[in-house]
Amino acid sequence: MYDVVIIGAGVSGCASARELSRFDLNICVVEMEEDVCCGTSKANSAIVHAGFDAKPGSLKAKLNVEGSKMMEKLSRELDFHYKKNGSLVVCINESERDNLNKLYERGIQNGVKDLRIIERDELIALEPNISDHAVAALYAPTGAIVCPFGMNIAFAENAAANGVEFRFDTKVIGVEKKENRWVVQTNQGEIETKYVVNAAGVYADVFHNMVSAKKIHITPRRGDYCLLDRSVEGFVTHTIFQLPGQFGKGVLVTPTVHGNTLIGPTAVDIEDKEGTNTTQQGIDELTEKAGNTVKNLPMRQVITSFAGLRAHEDSGEFIIEELEDAKGFIDCAGIASPGLSSAPAIGKMVASIIRDLTDAKERDNFITTRKGILDPKVLSKEEYAALIQEKPEYGNIICRCEMITEGEIMDAIHRPLGAKSLDGVKRRTRAGMGRCQAGFCSPKTMEILARERGVDPSEITKSGGESKLIVGVNKDRL
C-alpha cells in the first residue's frame, strides 16, 4: 500500500510529487497518458505571471506571487529554461487608464515587486512593435517566461530520482474509501493508498465528485494559440498583455524561452474534456486581437497552432485542501491560470497538507537538484569537440531546424521517465519543434526510438495510445 497516490502527472501533480518526496513517504503518480505533461500543462502560455491579476486575498493571488518568487532559483536547481523578461499590460485607450491604475493597485496589494506604470515613449523604447494606439502600460519586471515541458519534466524526474513511482497509461476509473484506506481503481488494476491527491486537471471534478457530496464543476476552457518561427525572434521581448476592458480580454503576445513568439489564447468554454482541436474562428480571432497591442504581426511566420484546456472551476478559485467529507482525499483542482506560475507553491502547499496529516519525517537523503538533457550548443567549441570524440552521437544532427543531435535524443529516451514517443522526444529535446515541424526528422527519430527501445518501428507512436505513425508495410494487403 502506498502512502500517497497522485492522480495526474501534469505540472501540479509532479510539483506535488517532488515536494512530497522530501518526506519518508511511499508515493505513486498515476497518469492516463503515456508520459508526463500531456494535458493542460503542455499547452498554455508558458509564462510566469508577476501576480497582479488575481483577486487580492485569494489563493490564486497568494500562490501566484509565491510561485513566481520561487521560480528562478528552482529553474537553476532543476535545470529548466526560465527567463525574467518582464511583462507589459498595454492600455490602448486613454479612457481605460483608470483600469490600468486599478490593476497597479491590485498588484501592490498582492505584493508584486517593482511594478510601475510607464508612458507611451518608454513603452515604445521597450517594444518598438507596440501598437500605435498604445497610450501607457503597467510594467512588471518580475514577469517571466518558462518552458512548461521543461518544468513539468524536471519536477517528475527529480521526484523519480527521490523514489516516486510513476505509472503511465493508467487511467483511473474509480476512487473508493475502504475502512482506513483508499482504493484507486484503474484500467491496470486496483491501487491502495492512505492518501489521494487529485491533480487530474480538467478531470479533477470527476474524481472529487466520486468521493464528496459537495460537488464541484470544472469547465474545460479552450484556448487556441499560434506559434511563430524563431526567424522573427525579438519581435517582442516582453510579455505583452492587453488591458482587459471594452475591447474584451485580448490575447497575449510573448517570446518563448526558446526564441519563438507565441500568440494566444482564445477562451471558449466547451464540454469535451479532450477537445483540444483548434478552430479557424479561434485562429482568426488571435490574429485580430493580437493586432490591438502590436503592429506588423508576422503571421506568415506561423509554424504551428495548438489548443489547450484550462481547468476552470465554477468558483474561479484554486481548490487545494483535504475534503471535509472525504478525509485523506486532497484536492488540487481548478488549477487554471495562473497554474503554471503557481506550480512550485502548489507543490509546497499539497506537501504541507499531507505532512500535517501524516507527521512524516523529512528524509536526509533528498536529492535537491536535477540535471537536464545536455544541450551541446551551450558548450565551447573545444568542449563540444571533446564530447563528440567521446560520444559520436553528439556529432549527428537529427533535427536540422532546432539543431538537435542524436545524442540528445538518446539521452531523452534513456533517462528516468524517458521519452517513448515522437512527442515525448519533442517535449524533452525540441526535435521536431522547429519550422519544418518534424517533416525531416520524424522518420529518423522513429528509427532511433525503435532502436534504443528495442521495439519494431510500427510500435512507435506520435503520443502513445493509438497514435501509430505507420500502419503496415508496402503492399501488405495487395
Binding site: 506559434l227 526567424s231 506561423v302 509554424i303 544532427i397 515541424q437 522518420p443
Partner: protein, 420 residues
C-alpha cells in the same frame, strides 16, 4: 582548419552538378558537404521515372539520375563528406560543419556554392485547424517512409495540394495498396505538371477537387477523417460546402520553401518572392564569392533545369576562384511586371553574361494564348507566343549578349506576359 577552393553545401542534384562543373572548368580542390547518409539528396526517394528527359534524352528514375552525377563526381575525384551538417558560414568564407567522426570542422573556402535545397510547407505553417493526431504527413515525409523505409503511413488517404509530390504520392500510395480518396487543391488550377495529373490521378481514377481545402482534421490519436470545403475567389471556405471524408491519413503537398537559414545568417539578401537569394547573372549573391543554385535559389519543377543552373553556378565559382571577380560593366536590373513574379537572375552584367544567357521565371496566374515578352528599355526584343503558361511550370527566355551589347544606354530589361 581545412582549405578548399570551393565548398559546396549540399550533395543533392544541385550540389553534384555544381561540383562536377567547377572541376571541369578548372577548379582544383572542391569539397561537397552532405548532411544525409548518401549523395543524391531528395532524388533518392523519387523512385518514379521521368527524370533526365532534357539532360540525357531518356527517362530515368530519381536514383538513376542522381547516380549519373555521382559517377561523374567520383570520376573527377571530387572530395565529399556524408552525414555532415553545416552549422555556419562566415563572411570570410569559413564553413563550420560537424559529423560523428571528425567532430567540428572548420573549412576555409575561396568560393562557396549554396545548394541546400528546400523543405515542405508543414501543416502548422498552413494553419489547418482541428486536432493534431498522428497521420498528418507532408507528402515528402510519407514518400521517404514508403520509398526508402518500406513503411506504409496509412491506408485511406486524402491529399491536400496538387503539387508534383502530392500527385506522385497519390499514385505511389495507390500502388502500395492504400486507397487515395481525393486530391484537393486550394487554387482553381493544379500546381503540378500536366503529365503528372494524367499519369498519377486520371489513370487511377483519383478525383481532383480544385478550389477546395481542408477546414478540419478529426481524430484525437490517429486521423479519423477530414472535412473539405469549397473556397471562394479569395480562397476563403464557403460555408455549407463542407464534406466529410473518412480517412486515416492526410498528406500535404502545399508548396516548398527554400532552406536558407544558413544564407540568412551569412547576410545573403533574399527575395521575398522566391524565399531564395537575390543573384546576379553569375548566380552570385550579394556576398562576393558565394553562389546559389537549385531549389535553395528558387523551387524548380524539373531536375534537368536544376542541373543546368548548378552547372552554371559551378563554372562561375571556378572562374571566380581562378581569376577573381570580373570587374567592369553595369549591372542592369531585370524588371518583372504583368504576370511575371520573379526572374533568376535579378540583374545582368553585360561584361560577365554568357553569349546566350537563360533567364528563368514563374508567372502568377494561368494565361492562355499569351506572349512572353522581353523589353530592353522600351523596345520589345522578344515576343514569343505561348498557348498556355501556368504558375506550376517554370518558364525561360534566352538573351543574346550581342543583342544587349548593341543596345545603346541600356537601363533595364523587362520581362512580362502580354495577352492578345
Amino acid at each position: 582548419m581545412l582549405n578548399y577552393d570551393i565548398v559546396i553545401v549540399g550533395g543533392g542534384p544541385a550540389g553534384l552538378a555544381a561540383a562536377v562543373s567547377a572541376k571541369r572548368n578548372g577548379a582544383e580542390s572542391i569539397l561537397v558537404l552532405e548532411r544525409d547518409k548518401e549523395l543524391g539528396g531528395i532524388l533518392n526517394q523519387c523512385i518514379h521515372n521521368g527524370f533526365g528527359l532534357h539532360t540525357f534524352k531518356e527517362e530515368l528514375t530519381g536514383p538513376e539520375y542522381a547516380q549519373r552525377f555521382i559517377d561523374q563526381l567520383l570520376e573527377e575525384n571530387i572530395a565529399y563528406k556524408l552525414n555532415t551538417m553545416v552549422l555556419d558560414i562566415s563572411q570570410d568564407k569559413v564553413v563550420t560543419a560537424m559529423n560523428r567522426q571528425e567532430g567540428i570542422l572548420e573549412i576555409q573556402a575561396k568560393a562557396i556554392v549554396l545548394a541546400m535545397g528546400c523543405r515542405e510547407r508543414s501543416r502548422g505553417a498552413l494553419n489547418i485547424p482541428g486536432y493534431r493526431p498522428a497521420g498528418v504527413y507532408s507528402a515528402g515525409t510519407a514518400q521517404r517512409l514508403v520509398n526508402m523505409e518500406g513503411y506504409l503511413p496509412g491506408r485511406e488517404v486524402v491529399i491536400l495540394g496538387s503539387g508534383d509530390i502530392g500527385l506522385i504520392m497519390a499514385r505511389r500510395m495507390t500502388l502500395e495498396g492504400a486507397k487515395v480518396k481525393v486530391v484537393a487543391e486550394l487554387l482553381p488550377y493544379s500546381g503540378g505538371l500536366k503529365r503528372n495529373i494524367v499519369q498519377c490521378l486520371d489513370d487511377f481514377g483519383i478525383p481532383l477537387k480544385l478550389s477546395h481545402t481542408v477546414v478540419d482534421i478529426k481524430g484525437k490519436e490517429r486521423v479519423e477523417g477530414i472535412v473539405l470545403a469549397k473556397v471562394d475567389e479569395n480562397k476563403k471556405p464557403i460555408p455549407g460546402t463542407e464534406e466529410f471524408y473518412s480517412c486515416d491519413t492526410l498528406l500535404l503537398s502545399c508548396g516548398l520553401i527554400p532552406e536558407n537559414e544558413l544564407s540568412r545568417e551569412l547576410g545573403v539578401e533574399m527575395s521575398p518572392v522566391t524565399s531564395g537569394p537575390l543573384v546576379n547573372e553569375s548566380l552570385e549573391t550579394n556576398v562576393e564569392g558565394v553562389f546559389a543554385c537549385g531549389n535553395v535559389l528558387h523551387v524548380h519543377d524539373l531536375v534537368d533545369f536544376v542541373s543546368q543552373e548548378a552547372q552554371a553556378a559551378g563554372k562561375n565559382a571556378a572562374e571566380y576562384v581562378m581569376y577573381g571577380k570580373k570587374e567592369g560593366g553595369q549591372d542592369i536590373p531585370i524588371v518583372t511586371t504583368q504576370g511575371v513574379r520573379y526572374t533568376v537572375p535579378k540583374t545582368m552584367n553585360l561584361q560577365r553574361m554568357e553569349e546566350k544567357h537563360v533567364i528563368r521565371f514563374r508567372v502568377g496566374d494561368v494565361y492562355k494564348n499569351c506572349y512572353v515578352s522581353v523589353y530592353l528599355n522600351d523596345e520589345r526584343i522578344i515576343h514569343r507566343r505561348r498557348p498556355v503558361v501556368a504558375p506550376g511550370e517554370m518558364e525561360q527566355v534566352e538573351l543574346k549578349k550581342e543583342q544587349l551589347m548593341a543596345y545603346p544606354a541600356l537601363q533595364e530589361i523587362t520581362v512580362k506576359i502580354e495577352e492578345e
